[in-house]
Amino acid sequence: MTSSISAPAALGRLLPVLATTLVFIAGFLVCASIYPNFASMRVVMNLLTDNAFLGIVAVGMTFVIISGGIDLSVGSVIGFTTVFLALAIERWGVPPLVAFAMILLICAAFGAGMGAVIQYFDLPPFIVTLAGMFLARGLSFLLSTQSIPINAELYSHLSDYALRFGAGARLTVPAMIMLAVVASGMVLLHLTRFGANVYALGGSRTATALMGVNVNRSTVLIYTLSSALAGLSGIVFSLYTSSGYSLSAVGVELDAIAAVVIGGTLLSGGYGFVFGSFVGVLIQGLIQTYISFDGTLSSWWAKIATGLLLFAFIAFQQLTLHIAGRSGRRPRLATAGAAQS
């Protein structure tokens, strides 16, 4: 903690991510000590596969939150994507790869639309993406309210394909896609000009604009990225379940936001890491896996544990901010500015 005051050194900056990673490792060790079978490649690989769609969405959400916004529409976009894919492939006879390209374009355009409304009409991202959430979910209901199985050959090929690591440990296609998205997300956020703009927007929009950054373009691109990744996540989700259902992925936006916050990203923007969100997703997956290993605990404990973790990490953030003495100067979200002085 002291390092963050004395100098904003690399260690101090990385402290929240390190804390998250330590929590994950500690949690994993605890699970492994209780259940001998836990510490296996199989469990680790399943953790990656089962949370692949969440991981992909969390990467997009990290960009949005670092830029000082929020995207509540991602769960609905995933649901819409699965329904669209199922209908396109099964009913309209579109080749799966063409359908993938179509839905990614549709989602990107949807995100660009939301970004444009947020930027050009100066509206809070929270409520605009809330409208987006209603719209995407409503459209998927209009497409179909039934669960449609997808029997395309490509789907069975993709779900059979996996890299094998010993007994039962398979690195599946969804897991590979997620790891690739996390890696590219890290490159995009930390090594490109666009990434630097995302951080700058979260710090101060006015200052960013005065610096000569094209704020309009950046904001639209950020929401485009988030929705496109939600579309990709929907593709992965439909691979994972081999079906399309308009009620799938309800509430995923909350899981994604929770993962991003647990991963150490500041909800007021300007600070955060893609890798932290990835670990945040893994922690949520770990809780689920622990509960399924235990067998006697009910699934609602997962919600309570996630809530407690959220609180712990947010309290930790507030404490670091307070100690670093930055809380007074940090501009807050227009929608959600704390109502205290």
Partner: protein, 331 residues
């Protein structure tokens, strides 16, 4: 721009009347009200009855949003309080049941208020914690089952009637009156508007912004608790998974439709309730018209967008200053 009429509130009332008229067109017996067994029946009464939980939520939400906050946890609080009421209903007397459920709602609000006002966490995040964990807590209370009860006293709160009006409507009206008296009858409303407009200046001017923030979140918790009790009493049971699911979004929508600015500092309690009625009238209208209920969400999305654009600072933001005057005069 066309939506902005000279007096704040005109557009909401006009919208409600238009929607009711549209409902009448698709279903000519929409306005028929008949008295049966001392209780009024009819589609219009149904709109009021079904709209009561969201109207109750919007009473708390409007104050929270006026403070530039947001309360995402109201749906989860409904589930918690419904679960408490349902599990106590058959073994305890009604005052104990209600007391426990309402106290739980106040405690949830206190927790939210503490996070926002004392720890300084952004409202959207602070209330997200309870939104995520709350449903888990509710399931803990019901032990994952759907708890049913037989207590006629509690059931009366959902299905009974007072002077012909369904009890939920009476409860919502009483809470509306109470909120108006507390907020607009005292200087509290002024302080809430001031704090929402500029928290720092208000604190420097001597307003106890922290205390007011905590109180407002507690009021939101109390309203959510009441809505949860009504929802549980309506179905004679508590379903921790589905009680109040997504109602926080409807409540926020009602407040936004009611013209309360998401940027704080301008709010109208009555119009928030009108907003809740507009949402319910749309729901009922879509059901009556025979359109698939799935269109509901698309219609809602379009309405939110239209209202937002009308509220946009780029399009009609300068109305906000006048809005404060008008909404104060109204109440």
């Amino acid at each position: 721009m066309a939506l902005r009429l000279p007096r704040i509130g005109t557009s909401q009332i006009v919208a409600l009347v238009l929607i009711l008229a549209a409902n009448w067109l698709v279903s000519p017996q929409f306005f028929d009200i008949r008295l049966q067994d001392g209780r009024l029946f009819g589609s219009l009464i149904d709109v009021l009855n079904r709209g009561a939980p969201v109207a109750l939520l919007s009473l708390g939400m409007v104050l929270v949003i006026a403070m530039r906050g947001i309360d995402l946890s109201v749906g989860a609080i409904m589930a918690i309080c419904g679960a408490i009421a349902a599990s106590l209903a058959d073994s305890h007397s009604l005052p104990v049941v209600l007391g426990a459920a309402l106290a739980a709602g106040l405690a949830c609000g206190l927790w939210n208020g503490f996070l926002v006002a004392v720890l300084g966490i952004q409202p959207i995040v602070a209330t997200l914690i309870l939104m995520v964990a709350g449903r888990g807590i509710a399931q803990l209370i019901t032990e994952g089952r759907i708890v049913t009860f037989n207590s006629p006293e509690l059931a009366f709160l959902g299905g009974g009637s007072v002077l012909g009006l369904p009890t939920p409507v009476v409860l919502a009206l009483s809470m509306l009156a109470l909120t108006l008296i507390i907020v607009r009858g005292t200087a509290l409303g002024l302080m809430i508007e001031a704090t929402g407009g500029n928290p720092r200046a208000s604190a420097l001017a001597g307003i106890g912004t922290r205390l007011i923030t905590v109180a407002v979140y507690m009021w939101s918790g109390l309203c959510a608790a009441l809505a949860g009790i009504v929802a549980a009493a309506d179905i004679l049971g508590a379903d921790a998974n589905n009680a109040g699911l997504w109602l926080e979004l409807d409540a926020i929508l009602a407040v936004v439709i009611g013209g309360t600015s998401l940027f704080g500092g301008r709010f109208s309690i009555i119009l928030a309730v009108v907003g809740a009625l507009i949402i319910q009238a749309m729901n009922t209208g879509i059901l009556l018209s025979g359109l698939p209920p799935e269109t509901n969400l698309v219609v809602k999305a379009v309405v939110v967008l239209a209202v937002l654009l009308a509220q946009s600072p780029k399009l009609g933001g300068h109305a906000a200053g006048l809005g404060v005057l008008f909404s104060r005069k109204k109440a």
